[in-house]
Symmetry: C2
Subunit: 485 residues, 2 copies
């Protein structure tokens, strides 16, 4: 099995494993106790804190260990918001934050706070000017990820931190995806991380609160971890987390270069190997090991299953994936195609052969999924064959003929009824009929699947057709597409 989902959880680094084993014997006692075992545990905890602080670039007394990255984000946001309650209740987050940030933001809003989502561009990046514009007199906190977990795009954290600093507003950085690669640049105020993202064990997050940042821990506390993370310290895991952070950092520069070259191969070759595939995320400013693409007319969940059968573990932001019925909020905010979405995130150490084999397997897998769904094949209006024949846009005579035969309906506007059908069916049905519409004519696609709202406009963009907006229908929503080529 080839595991390409390091952005979800990285396999345990050998150093983490070793440190965990050693500290199971040395670090099970309560570090708050005064006897030998307790003092030994305290020494281990202090050393872990120093090592982690050095890697983050902060003082040891600014860093506490939490039970997970999610808990670090929740505690950090709640404490910073409460610490500046007198300033106001306004919170700023980017539209593409990790769900832990968005959940905390929702909780803040539910409790009466106000919330601004800063939008991103098609590459998934925020504009520092948008943060500047969002900052108000009553802004208590701004949050920004160091890099996006779904598409790998790096955010301009240092510049956003500068903008926030100028306004006197603390910036909390969710550094979960990047901390293994290096410290977060810039003058941020709070930072959260998650050990199992860098090859450390699960059960450990870290929260940094810079000296001078107003912080009022929320919820019941205790005397542990500066009152910021209650409960018995998960010491063996903390020791393993710190040791592995040090270890991955030592290998980071070399490994980043190697993984970047491998993901570059995927970025470059997927559009050549898979027709109607769109690579998303910033091509330059991105995490070394993450590459994400979407495949028109494919179903993310089936694709994921088929890749799994072929021996590859990847994740997907498609709405048809897992338990969720809405497409990834990241792809949505970027305005890119969500159907047939695949995220490949390479763990450090991934051999080039695994990537090559993935690229061999992928085209057939996508084709098989599409075939099963009855997706259109061959060239169609506005269709480019796998990007290899730019400009080869010959339209099939049958379709032109078809639209002439059905002129009356087409003029009145063709209707595709995809009510009750899940993605990618609405888009497949649209693609099947677009040839029947005369240039200048419109198609109404009726759909009640949430993904259609994202994927129909994205399809228009990819196909060079005009998306003419949506309107409520008797059931679901009507999406209007005008054929312009």
């Amino acid at each position: 099995m080839v595991y390409f989902d390091a952005a979800s959880a990285a396999p345990l680094h050998p150093v983490a494993r070793q440190a965990l084993l050693a500290s199971l014997d040395e670090g099970w006692a309560d570090p708050a106790r005064l006897y030998r075992e307790g003092r030994r545990a305290r020494l281990l905890l202090d050393a872990a804190r120093e090592a982690a602080a050095e890697a983050v670039g902060c003082r040891p007394d600014e860093l506490v260990f939490t039970p997970s990255g999610t808990r670090a984000v929740h505690a950090g946001m709640a404490g910073a918001l409460a610490g500046r309650r007198r300033v106001g209740g306004h919170l700023i987050v980017s539209a593409v934050e990790h769900s832990s940030v968005l959940h905390a933001a929702e909780a803040h809003e539910a409790a009466g706070g106000s919330l601004t989502h800063v939008p991103v561009d098609r590459a998934g990046a925020v504009d520092p000017a948008a943060y500047a514009a969002a900052l108000g007199e009553d802004t208590a906190l701004a949050c920004l990820q160091s890099a996006n977990h779904e598409v790998g795009t790096e955010q301009p954290v240092a510049r956003v931190a500068e903008v926030c600093r100028a306004a006197g507003v603390p910036l909390l950085v969710d550094a979960a995806q990047s901390l293994g690669w290096g410290p977060v640049e810039g003058d941020w105020s709070l930072l959260a991380g998650s050990a199992h993202k860098w090859g450390g064990p699960s059960g450990v997050g870290l929260l940094v609160v810079r000296k001078g940042v107003r912080f009022a821990p929320q919820g019941p506390g205790d005397e542990r971890e500066s009152g910021r993370a209650p409960g018995f310290e998960n010491l063996p895991a903390v020791v393993a987390a710190a040791a592995s952070l040090r270890a991955v950092r030592a290998e980071a520069a070399a490994e980043a270069g190697r993984l970047r070259e491998l993901t570059e191969r995927i970025r470059a070759r997927v559009p050549l190997l898979v027709p109607d595939a769109e690579v998303v995320g910033d091509p330059e400013h991105r995490l070394p090991g993450v590459v994400t693409f979407s495949c028109l007319y494919a179903d993310g969940e089936t694709l994921l299953h088929e890749l799994d059968r072929a021996g590859f573990s990847v994740s997907s932001g498609s709405s048809c994936t897992s338990s969720t019925l809405t497409p990834s909020h990241v792809l949505k905010a970027m305005g890119v195609l969500s159907e047939g979405n695949v995220r490949v995130s390479l763990p450090p150490g991934t051999p080039a052969e695994d990537v090559e084999r993935f690229l061999e397997v992928l085209p057939g897998t996508v084709a098989a999924v599409r075939e099963r769904l009855g997706a259109p094949t061959g060239p169609g209006p506005g269709r480019e064959e796998g990007g290899r024949e730019e400009g080869a846009r010959e339209e099939r005579p049958r379709e032109e003929g078809g639209s002439e035969e059905r002129a009356p309906e087409a003029r009145a506007g063709l209707v595709v009824d995809a009510i009750g059908r899940r993605c990618p069916i609405p888009v497949i049905e649209l693609a099947k009929v677009i040839g029947d519409v005369p240039v200048g004519g419109t198609v109404r696609v009726l759909a009640d699947d949430e993904a259609a709202r994202l994927d129909i406009p994205a399809w228009c963009e990819m196909r060079g057709q005009e998306y003419a907006g949506e309107e409520p229908a008797e059931t679901g929503t009507a999406y209007l597409v005008r054929r312009i080529r």
Copy 2:
């Protein structure tokens, strides 16, 4: 080093270690993912939940894993209180709960809720009638530990659960200390546990919410653990926690009998070996491995250090211990002596030789600490020599003589100025002068150490003298003691 502090944290059970190692390789992936590694992680998580639920005596879907026992208590109390917000904001806890319960109760009170502390008797047990009396129309939740963490006293949980059930109020049981020994009896509604107390790894707690109990998780959540414990699951530790719970349960009956016999030795022999020592906690209804005693005229922290030097790791609820300046709230609620307090909690597998050696070392250690503090030695008024000579209360002629010589001051009331002196000094000074007071006369002890409030009345009870109350003094408090024998 002999570790006698299992009530703080038990050393890792071999089964926990084995399960942890195995699941480091099998269980690092995200159990929410659909690929092979994720499905394998999900299977491990499901199996762990089933095993833990069976041990607790609940349905698997009633049990979630949390990052610690403390977090389980916090989440359980907050969710249950919020779930019954419409009923009212009244919370009942016993006075001797673990700090995690008391901290959550304080947070509830700070947020506008009302709070009743149910008192305990001198053995540390609550009276179910007191819970019944405390229950009101607006009571949202009652909490009770299954057994006390400092003195080992078992609580009448089943009877309190019955009383609560009759009033329609859910009872949350903090079962941290007892879950390794067996399921909690009775018709409770919520239950919290902590793996590192039963020999599991740190980083795992469990929260059970019975079907039908109104529960509204508080704070930002996510889709993990039924929305009751956000953040990536600490899967290897969860697997190890469940496996070790099963393992310790298999050994529980035999081991409980063995440890009970060992703690019984300590209970019986400490008063014979150490003069002026008081064993506290219920002699019958108690945890198998826990025994607690206090030593008059000794300083808990020094005692702990000296026992550590002698090779024994124990804990202490004395105020002079660790970072806290107030004596244990448990000893306080029980109204027993807090000075020179020692808790011995034996991990399963403790050999009898270790206990024998402890009993050999203890008398000399206490004597040395007392000597260094200038504590009174030999018999004095109301003094029993090590409990071996009940009724041997001959008073030293020097003291009788002394009091006659100093008759005028004694009649006017002798004053001991212990302002600025920490425990056990105020009590030592009191003991030194009591012989100078005629029978019927009083001593005023001026003290500003919080422990004096507990220890001076406790001394009177142990010595058969009369505690005549306290009154504010110019500095600190004046404690009045009347010599009656």
